[in-house]
């Protein structure tokens, strides 16, 4: 079994043709073996991670896994118990937050309750000594960007949750920081504004290629849409890190497979190599072909990761990687149908475009998936 610790995160080779951040003169964020403890409890364990200048890195992970803590340590709100934090080429571990030139949106906004919205947004500019007319011009600009122009004169307590969150974003962006730390910045927003804000952030990033962003989210769409790289946190450790698409396509661990997108993970055995980067495995009575990017050794028991949307209805003819299952449930979710099947004693979920006549419960269905879209994943090391 492969032993996965934070120190030996599996890093996926980038796929061809995916976005790569333009390495510009902006500020790099570096965690060098950073640990953080609250009281006696270590909630961030020897994290090493570099966010290259101009890159967006998304951190995802279950609730309580240390994402917020990772941001707070970059911002300087908590001191690491060991390790160094770098911003650009400076070791900022001992630097005060106000000397770090970062912008931050925190999880519960923390707007200044006694200031009007516009004063909240102006705060950073004033603090950094921007001239008056710059402030006068920049504040409405930022408010417009988040669609809050009409609310400049209100106090935070007079705003709805989403409105507050947008003000928090505007406040962080106003001083045009080199480094942006976003902690679930869109969690209180509806899909539409959220999309608009994602576009806004993407645009911002495009306009300011130097902007380095560390982005905590629990929304994988957000992560996949915005980020160059994604880190998956678990229990204070970085479980997996890699280029967004690569991580999704070839998850290095079971946890990564399950956490980033949905996944069917089938226990397979009898691995034999089959061509470059491919392998043949045995699943119940069937023999399946899959990619083996992690070069799992022959004979190894492992998991086969099949994304629900990669499952297709197979015709009657002979196709590779075909399985037959019994429909357990059919769920409609607006733009998709979710179907659960059982095949070879394991439960399989598939997602397909809505059908006028969805299959009925108990129907036998023959499904298949493309060998190039399924990946072998090592079983996680036992935890604890």
């Amino acid at each position: 079994m492969v032993d996965i610790t934070a120190q030996e995160i599996e890093r996926c080779a980038p796929l061809d043709g995916v976005r790569t951040a333009s390495r510009t003169s902006g500020s790099r964020i570096g965690f060098e073996d950073v640990s953080v403890a609250y009281g006696g409890l270590t909630v961030l364990k020897s994290l090493t991670l570099t966010v290259h200048p101009g890159e967006i890195v998304a951190l995802i992970g279950p609730s309580g896994s240390g994402k917020t803590t990772a941001l707070r340590v970059v911002a300087g709100f908590v001191r690491p118990s060991s390790g160094r934090i770098m911003i650009g080429d400076r070791d900022v571990t001992d630097l005060a937050p106000y000397d770090r030139q970062i912008g931050m949106v925190v999880q519960n906004y923390a707007l200044f309750p006694h200031m009007r919205v516009e004063d909240n947004v102006a705060f950073g500019l004033q603090a950094q000594g921007a001239p008056r007319d710059v402030i006068r011009q920049r504040v409405p600009e930022c408010l417009a960007m988040v669609g809050m122009s009409a609310y400049g004169k209100r106090y935070p307590r007079e705003l709805s949750g989403g409105q507050q969150q947008r003000v928090a974003i505007a406040r962080a962006l106003a001083p045009k920081p080199q480094v942006l730390l976003l902690d679930e910045p869109l969690s209180a927003l509806d899909t539409q504004i959220r999309r608009a804000m994602i576009d806004e952030i993407a645009k911002l990033h495009h306009d300011l290629p130097d902007l380095t962003v560390l982005y905590v989210t629990h929304d994988q769409t957000e992560a996949l849409t915005l980020a160059n790289h994604i880190g998956i946190m678990r229990d204070g450790e970085m479980q997996a890190f890699g280029e967004a698409q690569a991580l999704f396509r070839h998850p290095p661990t079971r946890f990564a497979a399950e956490f980033l997108g949905r996944a069917n993970l089938l226990s397979v055995g009898g691995l034999t190599a089959a061509g470059p980067g491919e392998a043949r495995v045995r699943f119940g009575g069937a023999e399946l072909l899959a990619r083996n990017p992690h070069n799992l050794p022959e004979g190894r028991d492992c998991l086969l990761c099949v994304r629900p949307h990669h499952m297709r209805f197979a015709g009657e003819g002979a196709v590779a990687n075909a399985l037959t299952g019994v429909v357990q449930s059919v769920q409609w979710q607006g733009d998709v149908h979710n179907i659960t099947l059982t095949a070879e004693g394991e439960s399989l979920r598939m997602t397909c475009v809505p059908m006028a006549v969805p299959p009925a419960l108990g129907d036998q269905l023959r499904v298949c998936f493309d060998p190039s879209e399924v990946t072998l994943v090592p079983e996680d090391a036992p935890r604890g």
Partner: protein, 265 residues
């Protein structure tokens, strides 16, 4: 925590610590030194002695300490109960009558303690209330003198209790008194303790009114200390002051432990 670099911190401390030492450390040190001095003829005391303490613990000064502690505790508790009650009753009321009532509750703090003592002595030495010569009149004087401060502290605290928590409590079926007991008051605890500590300390040091109304056998520490220092027994006065200070310190420390535990939550 006010984030800042280490140098900044050190700079702040370099300014504030000496200030602190001169303003508070020095007077307290002088009083303690005086309590230990046999003579003090130069800039510093000549010889040291524990005689004053031996004396203090032998004489009826300890009764005075107990009297002071009891007076402080009873008067402050009453003031806390009454002030909290008043603050709660006037909470969230914006209309004029409530505002006026609030002002009314502040009036006692606007009266010099001498006048309070005078007024009490006059008022309660004649029918219908004959209280002079009883301990109650001392307690009343202290109550009156600390009441407004308690009221003010609690009112300020109430303004900071998050409304949302109280609303949620209500939605969970908590009736006003239950909510008060389980949510409002616990969230208010730091302020209640602050109010109590303040009034307790005030009461421990109260002289102006007490000296006018105290009955025989209910001599508080400040009255003793005043009598001593008025007659030039400075070292004995300093000794009793030190004892008074230490006793208060102990009480306040215990209270603030409780408070910070309440605050942490």
């Amino acid at each position: 925590m006010l984030a800042g670099s280490r140098a900044w911190r050190l700079a702040v401390w370099a300014v504030v610590l000496p200030l602190f030492a001169v303003l508070y450390g020095l007077p307290i040190a002088v009083i303690v030194l005086a309590s230990l001095a046999r003579t003090w003829n130069g800039a510093l005391p000549g010889e040291f002695t524990l005689l004053h303490y031996a004396e203090a613990f032998r004489s009826d000064s300890l009764d005075a300490l107990v009297t002071s502690l009891m007076t402080g505790a009873i008067a402050s508790t009453a003031a806390l109960a009454c002030g909290t009650w008043a603050a709660l009753a006037l909470r969230r009321r914006v209309r004029l009558p409530a505002r006026l009532l609030e002002a009314v509750f502040f009036v006692p703090s606007a009266v010099p303690s001498v006048s309070v003592g005078l007024g009490l002595l006059v008022a309660f030495s004649q029918p219908p209330f004959l209280l002079n010569g009883t301990r109650a009149i001392v307690l009343i004087a202290h109550f009156v003198l600390v009441f407004a401060f308690t009221f003010g502290n609690v009112t300020a605290g109430l303004a900071r209790v998050p409304a949302e928590c109280e609303q949620i409590a209500e939605s969970l079926g908590a009736r006003p008194f239950y909510r008060l007991r389980r949510v409002t008051l616990p969230l208010l605890t730091p302020y209640l303790i602050a109010a109590f500590s303040l009034s307790f300390a005030l009461s421990m040091g109260e002289l102006g009114a007490t000296i006018m109304v105290y009955p025989p056998g209910w001599v508080t520490m400040p009255v003793r200390i005043f009598a001593l220092s008025d007659r030039g027994a400075i070292f004995d006065a300093a000794t009793l002051t030190t004892i008074l200070g230490v006793a208060t310190l102990i009480v306040l420390t215990v209270l603030s432990r409780v408070s910070s535990r309440a605050m942490l939550r």
